[in-house]
């Protein structure tokens, strides 16, 4: 495939990233989706919108997040590396954001859009609960009622976040259909939305769904990459050699990657969840899926030969989804970004490694990115720089990790 002039001017006006993306929704939703698109274009042109977004990110979320060189992790990985090898490892610390993950960046942007459109009720789906918490947070901040759909299985494995959402005034509805995880929560949120289009704004939590969601979520999350690029240039005088980020739907990854996409010297690695292994149950839609249509967009999906969607599995509730945002599907097909996958066991090891070497408890989602970093760093020269997105903190995961490690709490 011919490389385009820029990798940064997707999607087209119909929301297509090459063959991916689009607006595959029920007719009831179409007028609202079109209105959202118009409203988003207008907001993009409006300096007052940008000013309010920036102000909230600075004073409410706590941005910019630090760029951190991880000396002991770097050294630990050099120990097993060949002579002269072992890249420097840096983290973009979005786990320090208010509510503990990158999800809040997007929620701030979307709630401002909701208010602009005169919507008075907020709904969202959540997997790990981080997006649910971030949505409940901005809903409380702006005084709007909020309903969060969460798979019943995720309600069980992410109970601290369920309680957080309730404290923030949200109603949490456990979804009992399917595998009772993120995909099913998204179905139920869409069902709510079609029945309440007149007053309800759906804050989608990742860079997926019908156009313009993949684009606007990316734009709101791109603050991660813009800051990181500037910080890295200021601190080291150069750009990183490789960016690494975990992929559920792909919002933290595209947020980090997008501002660097036209820096040809910067390589990028997206890390999917290989669950029990790629030959067993997993959540790696690029590695094990095929193009298809689900939840408003065309993208790679885990599915059978008849187009029935497969149940994903990952120890990380935030990665436990059988699809991926359409821009990643495109970036993989044009070859700009490389994608790999990491198993539950590898992620658990990386989780513990970061705890012990850097005094940082990561979420299980970025633990996947760290596991990929641990494989990659020993193959690169010592003066090379890897920048990974530490997109969430692990407080929410301690029960899951304890169980996986056989510890009694």
């Amino acid at each position: 495939m011919n490389a385009p002039n820029s990798f940064r001017n997707q999607p087209d006006e119909r929301g297509h990233f090459g063959q991916f993306g689009g607006r595959y929704v029920a007719e009831t939703l179409m007028p609202l989706i079109l209105e959202l698109d118009r409203e988003y274009r207008a907001a993009k042109q409006d300096p007052a919108f940008a000013a309010e977004f920036d102000d909230l990110l600075e004073h409410y979320v706590g941005r910019p997040s630090p760029l951190y060189y991880a000396p002991r992790l770097t050294e630990a990985l050099r120990e097993g590396a060949p002579a002269g090898k072992g890249a420097q490892i840096w983290f973009k610390r979005d786990e320090l954001n208010h509510t503990g993950a990158h999800k809040i960046n997007n929620c701030v942007g979307q709630i401002l859009l909701a208010i602009r459109m005169g919507k008075t009720r907020i709904i969202a789906e959540t997997g790990a609960g981080q997006h649910g918490v971030a949505t409940a947070t901005v809903a409380a901040r702006f005084g709007l009622p909020c309903v969060i759909y969460m798979g019943a299985r995720d309600v069980e494995r992410q109970s601290p976040n369920v309680f957080r959402m309730k404290l923030l005034g949200a109603q949490v509805i456990p979804v009992e259909s399917g595998a009772r995880t993120l995909k099913d929560a998204m179905n139920e949120a869409l069902r709510d939305w079609v029945a309440n289009v007149h007053d309800t704004f759906y804050i989608i939590g990742t860079a997926a769904g019908p156009h313009p969601y993949p684009e606007l979520v990316r734009d709101f999350q791109s603050v991660i990459g813009r800051e990181a690029r500037e910080q890295m240039l200021k601190r080291t005088g150069r750009l990183p050699d490789v960016l690494v980020a975990a992929i559920g739907g792909g919002s933290n990854a595209i947020g980090l990657f997008h501002p660097f996409l036209d820096d040809a010297e910067v390589k990028m690695l997206g890390v999917e969840a290989a669950g029990h292994g790629l030959d067993l149950q997993h959540a790696a839609s690029l590695a094990g899926g095929a193009p298809g249509v689900l939840h408003g967009n065309k993208t790679y999906l885990l599915q059978d030969e008849d187009g029935q969607i497969a149940e994903a599995h990952s120890i990380s509730a935030g990665l436990d989804y059988p699809g991926i945002g359409p821009e990643h599907a495109w970036l993989r097909d044009v070859g700009r970004v490389e994608y790999t996958s990491v198993t539950d066991v590898e992620a658990l090891d990386a989780f513990q490694l970061l705890c012990r070497t850097e005094g940082i408890i990561p979420a299980l989602e970025p633990a996947h990115a760290i596991a990929a970093v641990a494989k990659l760093a020993p193959t690169m020269d010592r003066d090379a720089i890897i920048l990974a997105n530490l997109c969430g903190r692990g407080d929410k995961d301690i029960f899951t990790v304890a169980e996986a490690l056989g510890a009694q709490l």
Binding site: G22, R23, Y24, R191, V293, G307
Partner: protein, 263 residues
């Protein structure tokens, strides 16, 4: 005249009945729908993620998939139906992914070979027509579009352009099987649609009783009943055909005689 236009040209309004393929004894159920008086059949293609459906049709989808229903099984059901009922229009209804999985051309060719007359795809709006519409039209299969309470005057031409067969008016903004729309809003919407298109207009979502069906049939060209039939199948399983037949006969009587002036 196509089978669909013939069905809507009868001297009475049409009863359109929906069932989920592979849930219960589908072939026998299809036969009793026709015997009971259904004028058009919608055969639902089960999908793991029926985002526009309420609990009844969701459960039917899961039962069908749980029983192992494949796309090949659905086409076999359609082929058998066409052999037994040469005149009754058969429409496949479902979600995009199972339809486009092997390519739109593959799907359209199999529809044509099985004697399918039209396709309703819930999550392919006119904006994404390329994904399936051209392939269907090339095989003479009608892409049947949905209009909804959110389809305002500005939106209608987009929906109607490229529609064929009939227009399915979804009378409530919401999922299948829930509340019924106020009759006044249906009357108004049907009038608006009929002013904008020559295609027949069928109204569905939330229709349960013969009385509701008759009230709609007074203004619309057709009435669609789905969840109520699917619930009977769910409740009665293998013995559903008798119950379905009884229910559909009552609906058909009400719909077919809706416009007759009482003697």
């Amino acid at each position: 005249m196509t089978r669909i236009s013939t069905a809507f040209a009868k001297p009475h309004p049409a009863l359109v009945c929906f069932v989920t393929a592979g849930d219960g004894p589908t072939a026998a159920i299809l036969d009793v729908l026709v015997a009971g008086g259904a004028d058009v059949i919608e055969l639902g293609m089960p999908f793991t993620d029926p985002m526009a459906d309420g609990p009844a049709i969701q459960a039917a989808n899961l039962r069908s998939l749980g029983a192992g229903t494949t796309t090949a099984d659905i086409f076999a059901l359609a082929t058998g139906f066409r052999a037994r009922h040469p005149a009754t229009p058969l429409v496949l209804m479902g979600y995009a992914n199972p339809m486009v999985r092997r390519g739109a051309e593959w799907f359209a060719a199999h529809c044509a070979a099985a004697g399918v007359d039209g396709v309703i795809c819930v999550d392919i709006p006119p904006e994404e027509d390329d994904a399936l519409g051209p392939a269907l039209r090339a095989k003479g299969i009608a892409p049947i579009r949905l209009a909804t309470p959110t389809s305002d005057a500005a939106r209608l031409p987009t929906i109607l352009d490229g529609s064929a067969g009939f227009v399915y008016y979804v009378s409530v903004a919401g999922i299948t099987g829930k509340q019924q729309a106020a009759q006044g809003s249906i009357d108004e919407a049907v009038a608006r649609l009929k002013a904008a298109t020559d295609l027949p207009v069928a109204v569905g979502f939330g229709v349960r009783t013969p009385e509701q069906a008759a009230a709609i049939a007074r203004v619309a060209d057709g009435v669609v009943v789905g969840s109520a039939i699917v619930e009977l199948v769910g409740e009665h399983g293998d013995s559903a055909p008798g119950k379905v037949r009884e229910y559909v006969s009552a609906l058909a009587n009400a719909v077919h005689s809706a416009r007759k002036v009482p003697a």
